[in-house]
Assembly symmetry: C2
Homo-oligomer: 329 residues x 2
């Protein structure tokens, strides 16, 4: 709505590479063509300076990149193909033009990687924190959308990639800031926090197989997301701590700390889901072909919508426990 960031206009509409796209001449409106036989998916995510990021934990490039990654993770959790996105940014005068362009560079780089086009936006000024909102649209074949509500007793609980790395990275960043110093191993954790990868390919494998799959993305930690699956599907889920894929025994942290981060840390943006015992080996094979790690971390039982954690000889109820960055915990 404002005119102060006119340079953004030239940054904004990148998108003409996908067929059928017409960028509308309106400031804030764009047009595109839906694919026949597909449903449309839409999701929105917002990050606020001082709440979800600070300049001393993420560079402007990483801020842009991360908001889009979070948003694409929602698309991945539905098994959809991301198509287009629009950006709204409220910018205080404490941010300069170069930093803003870095935010866009971060978004554009990830957008290119996943072939999703920036087709519009609204840039306004604010007297306070920078607020960045991205809305992404995607498409998924009719009848193939993945839901949380279809887990069944007997299912295997699976997880893509590793968890706990983002929280470990944030812990490091809170202690030592952007500049570190960090060992190579520590830098891996820091990068997991700063530059998460949305599991689009994994979501697509799960959408394309002809099997029943319940799915969720790990934005708030395995404990929280498993509880959501249990509630949505009205089943009991048991997770085996020994099976949780993560760097549980690195030199950086104790096993207890690593397990807490894996369960409650969040922002790993992996996918957690369930499928039948007969379908699971098929999944393992497909993921192996694509070079994506897939791990069985538990089982689904008939019972109350609860999550239980088994760790060697101990067993206890695993509550939701969110994770709220700088504010809570």
């Amino acid at each position: 709505m404002d005119d102060e960031f006119a340079f953004i206009d030239s940054v904004t509409p990148t998108g003409t590479k996908q067929e059928g796209l017409v960028v509308g001449i309106g400031d804030d409106a764009a047009m595109y063509q839906a694919t026949e036989g597909f449903n449309q998916v839409i999701c929105v995510d917002t990050m606020v300076e001082g709440i979800h990021f600070r300049k001393d934990t993420l560079t402007p490039y990483q801020i842009g990149r991360k908001v889009l990654a979070i948003n694409l993770s929602d698309i991945a959790a539905m098994g959809a193909i991301p198509r287009y996105f629009v950006v709204s940014i409220a910018v205080p005068s404490t941010w300069n033009e170069e930093e803003l362009q870095e935010i866009y560079r971060g978004m554009n780089e990830l957008a290119e990687r996943y072939n999703v086009d920036l087709i519009g936006g609204d840039t306004v000024s604010t007297n306070s924190a920078l607020v960045l909102t991205i809305t992404t649209t995607g498409e998924v074949e009719q009848g193939k959308m993945l839901l949380r509500s279809v887990a069944k007793p007997g299912d295997i609980v699976f997880l893509t990639g590793e968890v706990g790395g983002s929280a470990a990275g944030l812990d490091l960043l809170n202690k030592r800031g952007l500049e570190g110093p960090y060992t190579e191993e520590e830098m891996t954790l820091v990068k997991i926090h700063q530059e998460p990868k949305p599991q689009i390919e994994a979501g697509r494998i799960l959408a394309e197989i002809k099997e029943r799959v319940a799915l969720n993305d790990v934005s708030d930690g395995v404990a929280s997301e498993a509880n959501e699956l249990a509630t949505a599907s009205q089943v009991t889920i048991e997770i085996d701590a020994q099976c949780l894929p993560g760097q549980l025994t690195t030199s950086y942290k104790t096993r207890e700390q690593a397990l807490e981060w894996a369960l409650f840390g969040g922002e790993d943006f992996q996918l957690i889901g369930t499928t039948s015992e007969t379908a699971f080996p098929k999944l393992v094979q497909l993921f192996k072909e694509k070079g994506i790690r897939l791990t069985a971390i538990g089982k689904v039982y008939e019972g109350k919508p609860e999550v239980w954690l088994k760790d060697r000889n101990k067993k206890g109820k695993l509550d939701r426990k969110g994770y709220n960055h700088f504010q809570k915990r």
Copy 2:
């Protein structure tokens, strides 16, 4: 992303009235079906507390309502039918739950009026100003999207409704606040500022007639929007001040002030456009049938992309001149 505003979850997904809609179980993702033969339109608008509104010029109800109205106005300017919207809201602790619910009530009331469904959102906390972002999707018949770039020499320049009322209303609000007191005539102006109406029906009439129409919505004032039409179409536009529909001679303001508000005030959210001299009478008839005011306010000439204002015996070049609420002017 946060859990603090859990009550919003129950407010958020209203939408099941439109066929083909499936609200996704994901927090931030929803699914819907595109209509065959239609293109998809998307637009995003953001309003920031202290920049675009203050608690002493708009009630929470009006804030929610107005952001959606602004967003729907973009849809109207493309001749599209609005379908779904998602909401992102960054809320500081200075706003209470009741006020937030009022924001949603304002959105929902307008959404119901235009049959557009709230299908998702992201509610986060912030330490500073409230930021409200709405992204709306719409649909327009393939080949029918209205653009700014198709005005031709000889065209009539037309305008829906009246202009200048919003700026007059804001002026009153700045002087006397939400509580007034206001005369009935003044209250009309205040309401135009607080509760603008997106010209969806007008946009649809213009999309459905089989005529060439260039179109823009009046978010930044007639001068600015006419300049955009002139630039996009590479034509000269001449506007006749005598023809500008607005309350030019009310007791509240001088003619000069009224004219300035009409030209530069903005936020009227009417539609300004051009069509051929032969098509114009057809338009007048169609608008009359729907009870929407339509006025010829100027003409299009061959020439440089400029806008000229004719006022009785005077004539001068009319520059863009934006309007930036509380910050500028």
